[in-house]
């Protein structure tokens, strides 16, 4: 059951009246929602509801035709991926967007890219400031590797890892960015019960230990009801409901559209 791990703070990110269309398809229609600091927000809905599009708008891959995004007080017409990254938004993908040519360690190290400043000249020498910086970040990355229990696959090229481990590496890379807002797109898809439990544990730990705000898309209702503070339900690009898990579970619209009606 949900215990309050961290005190949920003020609004961290707010989207207002977002509408997004591609040619003839309207992916999102006039959606407003907010994500509060330190909370875990679940975004649920049937396939094609626009959940991934919503995340894409938040981190700047898609630019909505209408609406505004407010992040940490700054209002924008549309986010850009680079700015999202710089300001502390990290994310994972449904289809695991890892860099297949690199090892696990290197993939996670790329997450530290924004924080590595040493100049090109020092890079050519390697010894000196460049190496010191590399080691500082290597230590941080190793902490994350320990946290997610992926020590054994450090040097394995990620293309060779099984799907579940790839998802974990992708989470590690997102964590390496030390984000304030973490967007997870179906982090537990394709996992068995044990893997799901592990992933749940990691998500909760990240929220408790680092205070990271988390917005996740998830289909497993058990997981959603268990770990989230609030739930947003989308359907055909519209918002159906928005509230605590219990509120949403009892909402008639949501039941009709998504959760299903018990047979008499």
């Amino acid at each position: 059951m949900t215990e309050h791990r961290r005190i949920v703070g003020d609004t961290l990110l707010k989207v207002e009246n977002i509408s997004l269309g591609f040619g003839g398809v309207q992916a999102l229609s006039n959606i407003s929602l907010e994500i509060r600091e330190h909370e875990i927000l679940a975004i649920i809905g049937p396939n094609g509801a626009g959940k991934t599009s919503m995340l894409n708008v938040i981190n700047g891959f898609y630019h909505p035709q209408e609406g505004a995004i407010t992040f940490k007080g700054e209002v924008r017409r549309a986010m850009r991926p680079y700015i999202a990254a710089k300001q502390g938004i990290a994310r994972t993908f449904q289809n695991v967007a890892l860099f297949r040519g690199m090892s696990t360690l290197d993939n996670i190290m790329t997450g530290r890219n924004l924080r590595m400043q040493s100049s090109f000249l020092w890079q050519t020498l390697y010894y000196g400031p460049a190496r010191r910086e590399e080691m500082v970040h290597r230590r941080r990355v190793e902490e994350i590797i320990d946290f997610l229990e992926i020590q054994a696959i450090r040097r394995t090229p990620v293309g060779r890892l099984p799907y579940g481990l790839q998802k974990r590496v992708e989470l590690a890379r997102a964590l390496a960015m030390e984000p304030e807002l973490l967007l997870l797109d179906e982090p537990m898809a394709g996992m068995n019960v044990e893997e799901k439990e592990d992933m749940c544990r990691f998500v909760i730990d990240v929220n408790e230990q680092f205070g990271t705000t988390i917005a996740l898309i998830e289909h497993d209702m058990g997981v959603v009801m268990d770990i989230s503070d609030r739930v947003v339900v989308l359907d055909y690009g519209r918002k159906l409901a928005d509230g605590t898990p219990d509120e949403v579970r009892a909402n008639q619209n949501v039941i009709d559209a998504y959760l299903g009606v018990p047979h008499a």
Binding site: N56, F61, F93, N95, A97
Partner: protein, 302 residues
Amino acid sequence: MGGDFLFFIEATVSGLTAGVMYSLVALGFVLIFKASGIFNFAQGVMALFAALTLVGLMEKFGLAPWVAIIATVGVMIVLAWLIERLVLQHMVNQDPIILFMSTIGLAYVLEGLGDILWGSDVKVLDIGIPQGALDWLLDDYGIYIEKLEIVAAATGAVLVMVLAVFFSKTRIGRALRAVADDHQAALSVGISLRTIWVIVWSVAGIVALVAGIMWGSKSGVQFSLSLIALKALPVLILGGFTSIPGAIVGGLIIGVGEKWAEIYFGSLVGGAIENWFAYVLALAFLLFRPQGLFGEKIIERV
């Protein structure tokens, strides 16, 4: 009519016919790319090889032109079969760049073979295509257009129509389009990849032969023929890599553009602009329309 205007017409027509010649080579590229996703750098050398074989058969064995042409078609089909057997079969699912590099290797092989089999001196190709200018046009209007170029244009047009029909109407054409889209999916519905590839490379070989005949009749059969392949690249950029009509339109635009640039700008900068103008034109196009005039827009999903 004023002399300048006449000159302009001549230049434009010359450009158009050159464009048709480029299109003939580009067609071969498009065919192979459509059906196997391979960019066949060896297409130009195939044209050279076909032309060399044709001349060689006529000279060394004294065959009549039409017999020699049919024999060369046979050679190109055997060649396609060999290529499929020895090279393509082993390269299913490879990276595009690897496939591309292997066609460069293939180009080297064909070039060397052509030289070894038939010798590397310049040859004259005469299969009876009428030479010389169109007399009535020259006499009455003062415009110089070669009969050969008209024949080439007509041949090109016929070839394109035949291929277009072939692709869209026949069962094999449909199979070709399926293979171009997705190798594995095509395999899973029972299309024999290997047979398709032999067919495609044979057709490309025949197209190369036609191109080789036209170019060879015009300027002799020599090594520079294979460099036409490089010119086909800008044609494909403009027309899109997978579009047959695109190859034609692209070829015409490049042909005319090059001629105009050479005539009107060439003198300003010392000439020989034709070496690079086509590429710069293609580059300019790419910046505004990365998929070419007729190509498919690539949408990347995350």
